[in-house]
Amino acid sequence: MKGLLKRWSFWCLLVLAALALFGTRLFDALPEAEVAAPFSKPLWLDRSLPPTMDLELSGGHPAAELDWVFGAPSRFSLRVETALPAPSRFVEWTIPGGKTFRLTPLNRGVELDGRDIAFKRSLGLPPFGDASSALFPERGTYRIGLSGEGEWEGSVKIRLEGGRWGLLGTDQRGRDIAALFVAGIRVSLLVGIFATLLATFLGTSLGLAAGYRGGWTDAVIMRAVDLLLSIPLLPILMALAALWGKGLWQLILILSVFSWMGTARTVRALTLTLRDAQYIEDLRGLGAPAGYILRRHLLPETLPVLLATMTLGVPGAILSEAGLSFLGLSDPRVISWGRMLHEAQSFGAFTAGAWWMLLPPGLGIALLCLVFLDLGKYLEERVDPRLRGGNVL
Amino acid sequence: MIDIRNLSVTYGRMTSEGRGSQAAAVKNVSMTIRKGQFSALAGESGSGKSTVLMAIPGLLPPGTAVSGEILLDGKNLLALPENELNRIRWRRIAIVPQGAMNSFTPVLTVGRHVEEVLSVHLGLSRKEALDRITPLFALAGLDGELARRYPHELSGGQKQRAAIALALACSPDYLLCDEPTTALDVITQRGIIVTLKNLVDEKGLGLLLISHDLPLAASVADRLHILKDGELAEEGDPAEITARPRNPHTRALVKALLDLEEGS
């Protein structure tokens, strides 16, 4: 057990599991929410692009200054929320050099967008293009504030959408990729673990039955193994997913139905060797029912091997789910890494050059697989010498 | 003759703790193997007999500590580089390994093995090599037809004889046999021993037979050496040793065997 603590994969798995469970709390918005412009780059990528930022003005905080060292933001929007409108007061925008624009009076329910023609006309701008390039003509210090004096209940929310957002940028719908990545851990872990669990359960039951009973049971089960192994996995997954539904649980079920064969073979082989052990013979002679022997003796013998096999089987399930999602055959409402890659390919990440959409999910899948492979190897190593030494009396 | 002087061998063993005890498998053994002489090396399992045999053609695993000398025609085999050793192997010194050892490559026919050594060492063509197979097999008491078989198709006794035939392919001066009769039935055992004896008498081979079967070794050898725990406990004329063992261990051994024979 101590060896487990020394392995990087163990800690990695803990971190990922923690992120899967609590990670969404790290973000303000839901993963599906649009937080910035589509294909925004990560913050650290291109410092010349403006980041997406939100400003808020209120009665107590009537002005703000911006040291603007970027180009113009891609989008400018403004919203006034108040119960008490003050139509004589305005939101003023001062550019370097002193020129001031009056953006809007402090009326109730004002929603401005830099693309609105009316808004542009009110500023004296041509009806084409985004107002933000006119509002942000150069680098320098900008000031935004409320004209007039006095108390005012309400807030002005300004949103400047730049080309940058967050740790990993945004996708084609402006969703935060970091948030999507964290949300995706869940699906991968869920599908990976449950599908393998189910497959192991199926495989163990059938393997024990085949090995212990022999005869017809054995023949039928082994035939089934041959048949299922002859069916190419991805095509059948595709067919079943497209024809019987793209839901997550359907996927887990289908995956397990086509993954139990390896476990069954291993368990069967183990059962065959253990079945003829002396103490099993003795138990049978004493009249112990098959179920008892299987449950209390044979099953525990197989458990160490099963744990290792299961851990090594998880990556397969993860990759299958990712593959299916990538092909578009998964539930579009469910966020998964494969799905993210599907959307990257189908919705223009290439033309936008948005490589930050590609790397996180892909690397995530690889990392998760490597983690389970390493853990599986560790379990295998621990199981092997014990098996050889023999738990059998 | 093969002159083994002060041979000591320690296997490089690594225990799970890292630095473990390294027991010497062979300690300061000296002996000679002469042509035309049937020498035997006897001892219990684990006494180091096989190690001595494997040391001669330089077949000990890498990382083994070896000291002493093994002289052949004045050259120390332990100090020879690999390419020179390869010229001596099989042409001057050939080995017949333990029956349990898989001496043949499973995917090649037995005859192919013979062809290969004939071609590599003696430069024979395929046809010339094929011609030699039948008489060679006959020397070992086998039908030449068996050369076409794969190793797993031969019985234990046949495989052992085939290994002898293979060893004789390049007409070596010395033949080192490691327990060639273990795991075989008594009749086959006898047959093989007789074959070996004939080879010594008729061809003038220098033969070293390794066995844990002391009576067998004593009955057939011209010269007997006994190893105990890696050290040479006794050596000399087999009859002498049986009648007048010097070493206390040998004495006990001989007495035990005599008791067995007298039938208790």
Binding site: L234, L327, G353 | L85, I88, T105, V107, H152
Partner: protein, 325 residues
């Protein structure tokens, strides 16, 4: 010997038969209108009625099944809903591309992988060996579509060295050599990606197997016979490696079928894999059923072939399975 072959072939036929049943069930007994799985639902009711008669959809199920088996075995797969052309035609135009893609990459990755694996086994503890040990895990863990997307973005989008999509340029160049070059140019990245993803597993497997073989007695005894290193490595070690290697080669064929689906999707190639995806997502049941059957047929044949060939290359198996039992 013939007993062994007969049994393996019989087994394969049984499996194929079961695949046919599975196919029939899958693609005909759909939730909803069973007729919709054979006759395009967009046809007029009169057309549907007439076609129902032609296809025998009013007959009892067992009869339908027999008709299905007969038409499948004669490669009469019906008309594709999406393209309106016979499915056989569609498959015929796509199959060569898929075979080229899979065949080339399999051969290349197995050759490169075997070579690297052997080198790694011979140079234990070297950097090469460490890389080989890692390459197996890495090539398994990185999803193929991810690697391919990255390659595509790097070498076709960012650096326009290779085409972004397609098997041939549109319009394709005229003449033999320019056409061939255009084809190779389009296939370069897909094949490269598959080889990159594939050689690691091979190298690791070969390395492990080779290490095991080199530790065997018969290798030590080959050395005892004074054979030069080259003879031992090639004539004895590698020769012993061949039977399992060949088996793995053939057994991996069905697996790379999945690779075809994904690769053809990423690179938009005109192949059977992408055809299957389009058929499946487009509910083009005749096309989907046919593609699926073809892939199952490929899988079964490869398994059978590998069983038979293993028996041929490994003399121990030949005798064990053939004689006496």
């Amino acid at each position: 010997m013939s007993g062994y072959w007969a049994r393996r072939t019989g087994s394969a036929l049984l499996v194929l038969g079961l695949v046919l049943v599975l196919n029939f069930v899958l693609f005909r007994m759909m939730p909803g209108d069973p007729v919709a799985s054979i006759i395009d639902p967009n046809f007029s009711p009169e057309a549907k009625a007439r076609l129902s008669e032609v296809y025998g959809l009013d007959r009892p199920l067992p009869v339908q099944f027999l008709r299905y088996v007969r038409s499948t075995l004669t490669f009469d797969f019906g008309i594709s809903f999406l393209t309106g052309r016979p499915v056989v035609e569609e498959l015929k135009s796509r199959l060569p591309n898929t075979v080229m893609l899979l065949g080339t990459s399999l051969v290349l990755s197995s050759l490169i992988g075997t070579w690297l694996g052997m080198k790694a086994a011979l140079k234990r503890g070297s950097l090469l060996e460490k890389c080989v040990l890692w390459s197996g895990a890495l090539s398994f863990s990185f999803p193929s579509f991810f690697v391919q997307l990255v390659l595509l973005m790097a070498f076709a989008a960012a650096l326009p060295l290779f085409p972004l999509r397609g098997t041939l340029s549109v319009p394709p160049p005229a003449g033999g050599l320019p056409l061939l070059l255009d084809y190779l140019w389009h296939m370069a990245l897909p094949v490269f990606s598959l080889v990159l993803l594939g050689f690691g597993g091979w190298a690791l497997y070969v390395r492990n197997l080779m290490v095991k073989i080199l530790g065997e007695d018969f290798i030590l005894l080959a050395r005892a016979r004074g054979l030069p290193e080259r003879n031992i490595i090639l004539g004895h070690a590698f020769r012993t490696l061949l039977p399992p290697l060949l088996t793995i080669f053939l057994l991996s064929l069905p697996g790379i079928v999945s690779g075809a689906v994904i690769t053809e999707t990423v690179f938009s190639l005109h192949g059977v894999g992408r055809f299957l995806l389009e058929a499946v997502t487009g509910h083009d049941y005749p096309a989907a059923g046919a593609s699926f059957f073809l892939l199952a047929l490929l899988t079964v044949s490869c398994n059978l072939l590998s069983d038979l060939l293993y028996g041929l290359t490994d003399p121990r198996v030949r005798m064990e399975r053939g004689g006496g039992r």
